[in-house]
């Protein structure tokens, strides 16, 4: 089965083609295209966005030499929001042994929350079960207890924005098999299971948005999206230094930092460095000050958004940064200062080939990884629930 992972970003569109054999996943193709018609992760010009997405898909198919059958699509954007809802049930059995029906009931109750009109659920992320207040990392089935609790972090988005993204893919005559939150995709890619168990905050700073996911007890605890990204740094430079966006982007990539390390305010850097007409000098200190101020503010907002969910004690694995803007120098130090925990840049797993090790591919890689894992988990759950014994049990339960 050939699966495509599509990330429709603000600055570029990434497509990876994976061959999934049911056991392992091999990445066999890649397509990339500069993004148009997308602002802050949201499609604002359907035609332009479709053209470049389809172009990237076509490149990826050509590179893979195979036709994509379905797509896992990354979802981001400022319209995404999340809330936490939990439920508890008293265990039915007289011997207090938890069975499948108890688990299903408590899960259904925890997920049952009405959304405002025009909003749709993107993800229901389950937090670990608790039996009589005791944390259970796995399934609580067959454990003994009187009360079973579970909570869900529900991510929801605006229906039209979600539909726009899906229709862009459908316009290429492809079906969207999974819609995956970009923060979860990239977070799964740059964190290990151990780190997620200890607690880690994954921040993916893209061009238009910043996606973050806080992991605790092995699962995503809180997720969020800020409609602020690398383009804001460029914009700040453009305004502060009176440059065009292109020139500001160039300066950001070459001299931008998330902290100020240049002490000499007179230290100058050239815009182009080729001594051509129009080439100008700028204070490096000023550049660093502008970019670091915005980065600092961005990370502060992330911390504020997390609120009580984040504390250095429950996030012992620290902060991991990824995304195109995470290439900004000194960003890990800044993050460490703000969050009060160790911070580092996300590293691509060793099994990923050299040409896909750029942080910009983390989301697309994570899409394939997360999408395939989720699909496999769902398939095995449906196999379990449709087994002969399950059907017989259900028959008696309904009687």
């Amino acid at each position: 089965m050939f699966i495509g992972a599509v990330e429709i970003g603000t600055s570029k569109i990434n497509v990876l083609v994976g061959e999934y054999t049911g056991r392992e996943l091999a990445i066999i193709g890649r397509g990339e295209c500069s993004s148009r018609g997308v602002i802050k992760g949201t499609v604002v010009d359907y035609k332009a966005a479709s053209e470049c997405t389809h172009s990237a898909l076509e490149h990826a198919e050509r590179d893979a030499g195979e036709r994509i059958e379905a797509v896992y699509l990354a979802q981001t954007g400022g319209h995404l929001e999340g809330f936490y809802n939990e439920a508890s049930v008293n265990v039915k059995a007289s011997d207090n042994m938890i069975d499948g029906a108890d688990i299903r009931t408590v899960c259904d109750l925890a997920k049952s929350k009405e959304l405002p009109s025009g909003r749709m659920v993107v993800h229901n992320i389950r937090r670990p079960f608790r039996v009589d207040g005791r944390l259970v990392p796995g399934s609580p089935e067959h454990l003994v207890g009187q009360k079973l609790d579970v909570g869900y972090w529900t991510v929801h988005g605006q229906e039209q924005r979600l539909a726009d993204n899906i229709h862009v893919i459908r316009g290429f005559n492809l079906e969207v098999r999974e819609l995956v939150l970009a923060s979860l995709a990239s977070g799964h890619m740059v964190t290990t299971a151990e780190e997620r168990q200890h607690g880690i905050l994954a921040i993916d700073i893209g061009a238009g948005t910043t996606d973050f996911a806080l992991y605790r007890d092995g699962a995503a605890h809180v997720t969020g999206v800020l409609p602020v990204g690398g383009t804001h740094l460029t914009n700040d430079l453009s305004i502060g230094l009176r440059l065009t966006e292109g020139q500001a982007e160039k300066l950001k990539l070459r001299f931008g930092r998330a902290n100020v390390v240049t002490r000499d305010k007179n230290q100058k850097v050239w815009l182009d460095g080729n001594f051509a007409i129009g080439d100008r000098q700028f204070s490096q200190h000023a550049i660093e000050q502008i970019t670091s101020a915005r980065t600092w503010e961005l990370l502060e907002v992330v911390k504020k958004k997390l609120g009580n969910a984040f504390s250095p004690e429950t996030c012992s694995a620290g902060v991991v940064l990824t995304g195109g803007t995470a290439k900004l120098g000194g960003i890990a130090d800044t993050a460490a200062k703000i969050f009060g925990v160790p911070a580092h840049l996300g590293e691509t797993p060793s099994w990923v080939s050299e040409n896909l090790r750029d942080p910009g591919y983390h989301t697309a890689l994570g899409l394939l990884y997360y999408g395939v894992s989720a699909a496999a988990e769902r398939a095995s759950a449906s196999r379990r629930s449709s087994g002969f014994l399950s059907n017989v049990k259900r028959l008696f339960a309904n009687a």
């Binding site: 898909l57 259904d108 749709m120 659920v121």
Partner: protein
């Protein structure tokens, strides 16, 4: 507590967003992919259909070609075919008709050919042949039943054949001779040779209906019938029936119920028989309520060739309208012998009530 028992609100998920294929919203690449997908589906359908058809051809060839059959399947010789029939044909006839070679096997039989051979015998209306492995052939047939006899002439030779309800003319085999003697002869029909036999007779169904009704409801009348003629069926919708002794000629019409006509005939026959059993009569039942009956006294009683003819009219209306009929009811009506021979005598028997047919006929 389950989802059914606690009415939980259901939040809509992104999976409920429809993913329709709208060609106008597609890019050129998307439309090309859509076209290619349609072509692939069409090609797959054609290939699949072709494979099925080829498979059927191979299967048919294997089924027909006994040479490729395994030797073990051809080892068991066929037992005598079993006949299941609703008529009079027997196993000897079946063996003669099928003419199967000795030591043939079930797999070697061509059922279509054998069926054609059976249906060539006009006495067989339908035939079904079933192979019961390993060595039995079951033949189930339905036979035609004769309703009349017809005399044919071919190559200067006269030959009596049987006619079935559907007009098919056939030789007939296995019937009881006495039963065949009771069948009336068919007259007034054109017998056209076709192939090795004759074309079916048109209009035979109506004649067969009359004969079967008469046989069932008025056996004593039917047993006297010698000839049934279809000569005036096409033109006047009339069937002519003549008794075996030739004295009585009856016209039936296909426009009216045969049962009513038979009831009238029975009544008239009774009336005639009580007055002059040896008289000849022509009875026309085709005119509805009016039944003209022309009676000719027996020659022995009336030696003169131009003897008196008596005509009776059976009609309820005639009792009031017809002057002669009114005369017939006069108590002082003289006996037939007292009337001048040159004047016909009219007599009107009381009108029979047909609204409730006498089932004892």
């Amino acid at each position: 507590m389950t989802r059914d028992s606690v009415n939980l609100p259901n939040a809509r998920t992104w999976r409920e967003i429809p993913q329709p294929v709208v060609p106008r919203a597609m890019s050129r690449e998307g439309q090309w992919r859509l076209l290619m997908a349609a072509v692939r589906i069409a090609a797959a359908s054609v290939i699949g259909g072709g494979a099925l058809w080829a498979g059927w051809l191979v299967f048919a060839a294997v089924r027909e070609n006994v040479r490729v059959m395994p030797a073990a399947a051809r080892a068991t010789p066929l037992r005598a075919p079993e006949l299941r029939t609703d008529g009079v044909l027997d196993g000897a006839w079946l063996a003669r008709t099928l003419a199967l070679p000795a030591k043939t096997t079930l797999l070697e039989l061509d059922l279509q050919k054998l069926r054609t051979r059976l249906l060539a015998e006009q006495q067989v209306a339908t035939a079904t042949l079933t192979k019961n492995f390993p060595d039995r052939l079951v033949v189930t047939i339905s036979e035609r039943n004769p309703v009349a006899r017809v005399m044919t002439q071919m190559l200067g030779q006269k030959r009596a054949l049987l006619v079935a309800r559907d007009g098919v003319i056939y030789v007939g085999e296995g019937y009881d001779r006495a039963t065949l003697e009771t069948l009336p002869w068919l007259d007034g029909v054109k017998i056209v040779p076709a192939g090795g036999g004759f074309r079916p007779i048109a209009g035979m169904e109506q004649a067969a209906e009359l004969l079967s009704k008469a046989r069932l409801e008025a056996e004593h009348l039917y047993s006297t019938w010698g000839v049934i003629s279809l000569a005036r069926l096409a033109t006047d919708r009339k069937l002519e029936v003549r008794t075996k002794d030739g004295r009585v000629l009856v016209y039936f019409t296909t426009n009216d119920d045969f049962f009513r006509q038979l009831a009238k005939l029975d009544y008239i026959a009774d009336a005639l028989g009580s007055r002059d059993p040896a008289a000849s009569a022509v009875i026309d039942l085709s005119l509805g309520q009016d039944v003209p009956v022309m009676v000719t006294p027996a020659p022995a009683e009336e030696p003169a060739a131009s003897g008196p003819r008596r005509v009776a009219r059976l009609s309820s209306a005639s009792t009031t309208r017809d002057e002669h009929a009114a005369m017939a009811f006069r108590p002082d009506l003289p006996a037939d012998g007292d009337r001048p021979a040159s004047h016909p005598t009219l007599f009107v028997p009381p009108h029979p009530q047909f609204s409730q047919p006498n089932r004892e006929l």
